[in-house]
Symmetry: C2
Subunit: 405 residues, 2 copies
Amino acid sequence: MLIVQKYGGTSVGTCERIENVAQRVINAKEQGNQVVVVVSAMSGETDKLVQFSQNFCHSSYPLPNPRECDVILSSGEQVTRALLAIALESKGYKAISLSGQEAGIVTDFMHTKARIEKIHTQKICTLLEQNYIVIVAGFQGATLQGEITTLGRGGSDLSAVALAGALRADKCEIYTDVDGVYTTDPRIEPKAKKIDRISYEEMLELASMGAKVLLNRSVEMAKKLNVNLITRNSFSENEGTLITREENIMEQPIVSGIALDKNQARISIIDLNDEPGIAAKIFESLSKVSINVDMIVQTIGRDGKTDLDFTIPKTEVTQAQQVLQDFSHLFEKLEYDCNIAKVSIVGVGMKSHSGVASLCFKAMAQENINIMMIGTSEIKISMIIEDRHAQKAVRALHATYQLDQ
Amino acid sequence: MLIVQKYGGTSVGTCERIENVAQRVINAKEQGNQVVVVVSAMSGETDKLVQFSQNFCHSSYPLPNPRECDVILSSGEQVTRALLAIALESKGYKAISLSGQEAGIVTDFMHTKARIEKIHTQKICTLLEQNYIVIVAGFQGATLQGEITTLGRGGSDLSAVALAGALRADKCEIYTDVDGVYTTDPRIEPKAKKIDRISYEEMLELASMGAKVLLNRSVEMAKKLNVNLITRNSFSENEGTLITREENIMEQPIVSGIALDKNQARISIIDLNDEPGIAAKIFESLSKVSINVDMIVQTIGRDGKTDLDFTIPKTEVTQAQQVLQDFSHLFEKLEYDCNIAKVSIVGVGMKSHSGVASLCFKAMAQENINIMMIGTSEIKISMIIEDRHAQKAVRALHATYQLDQ
């Protein structure tokens, strides 16, 4: 098998931990696999360097030059990749470390948040054939002109998934310090169970939960490139969670997990003129300033007026209010509420099962929790409730769908 | 003018110090010059990384892989060069930072101690024409195949001198935390004076003194490429010392400086068979194991026997004794003395002045210092004396040649 493994910052934070990573890599190699390893910088190193570069900023130079930032940001992975190669060599294995550029990762020009455009795999393939363990610096690539770029948040995961896709690897293992994806956040419901297999689509819907182990950007790329993605704990022998195509999951439960998102705020536009195209104009204006609208509910109009409720990230409330000022002649009142939470039930099985929704509304009723907004998709039911009920709601739903069994 | 400036690790050790460097660079730029800046890693960073990589070594893997070492070693300069570019940009100047490879520095394959083979200056020239201040990571280059290499000890100075030569720069300023080259070590003779101008040849002979500001490797390259080299203090406005061709120095003093070397040991082979070719064989054997023999004195033979005295670095005494065992059938006794010092008087003016030597012997006699060995070259007189007299000898010679005036 050809395996791509990715180790995050906490997994390579000290010499002992790098030794531990080396041992895991060797285990995979000894099982007869070809192994490509993607590493992050030591945790904390990148932040330290960013802060350093920001010391030179002031009101008329608010941000350091992105090109130079990428030169600095990519230095952390440069150290860890070489250290891991040395650790593997010291244990008697053939190992070689490559920069993103050497690994053939070609990106666009968007410094500090570049997108991978292409991966030239020839060099890695040749080295694998020569029995090398190939270590690649995560988070970085280079433009066609050879300028170093970095891939933004979660960039090392992305490097690993993209390499796995380009190399047609049998699996891509993402190592962090948690065991995998859980049916819900174990800090909220201690009875939460690790999920063995989950589809890309469910994983994307569980984003708010999954973000702790994997960003949507990587899951989306895995889905697109059909990469079998596994999130595992680098400090334990547990199996982890396989994120794969729906077809690869034999026994599909109706509900796979309960997600909780406390980062949304609700905006209510009250008594908006109920004319065609007004909502479209409002949402267009918000999208122009890159505000992500999540759930939308519009009441049925009466007397030529309607109420429009929607949710956006809490951090964007101020900006949204400014945008909405332009429409103030069209509505009566603008309200916002930051004390909300979004609880979602996610499961591919919903598609073919009825009664899933009614079960969850019943559970909320039993707990005396008022549902402010409801949104549904093929594999998800989301509810906006009061913030203070969040934990109770998650636990009730977890029990209702017997996820603890 | 086109100026190459090089700043060492202590000059870029903190944000404030990088600001200070940026201001110096701007001053040079504002005077209408084109400026190329070579920077080292922050002091301590490189050592820290080397230690880290050595943690993986053990008896059967004594040294980390040199290729991977170079990847790690070159990361320090990657950070400082980008930080300086950001600092300059934040002050409103056009600046761009380049890796050794981007700067066109091509080296051989000897990882961790590579030699510069060629410099392709086109990229730097284009950037200078576009009014950029160009910052180059010191200490590093790349092979023709694009593998990162480092240049070994004093490598950043070497980068600067080689770039100055290739760019035909008007001068190459090496910034450290001392004011320049002194007539002798000021810790030994507080009356020591900073030298304004000195020839390459004298600088090379003053190595033991000069090593604190500049390694011979850089001076040799400056001489070869005809680079006007200036060592200056990055924390003061003092002029520094210009190291240049002899012809460029108008008023050449007879003696430029007094050097002291306490790292030599004397080996004495007593009653060696006085046969032709024996000395040659001995020194050949020593050179085969890379022992640098410095001064050699052979007494006139009598009764078919002779005494052979020479000096070598103290650290190589044990190894030398082992080599000399092979010749033990040819001599009576082997002695060594680590309590010696070499005092040297250096000056291009000696070539055309007589009486320089007799003055120095007289000074030693007046101080009651016994001279064990004497060696001379066109521009140097060296004496081996007892270690304990070293300071007294240096001060006496400094006064004799009126270097304090």
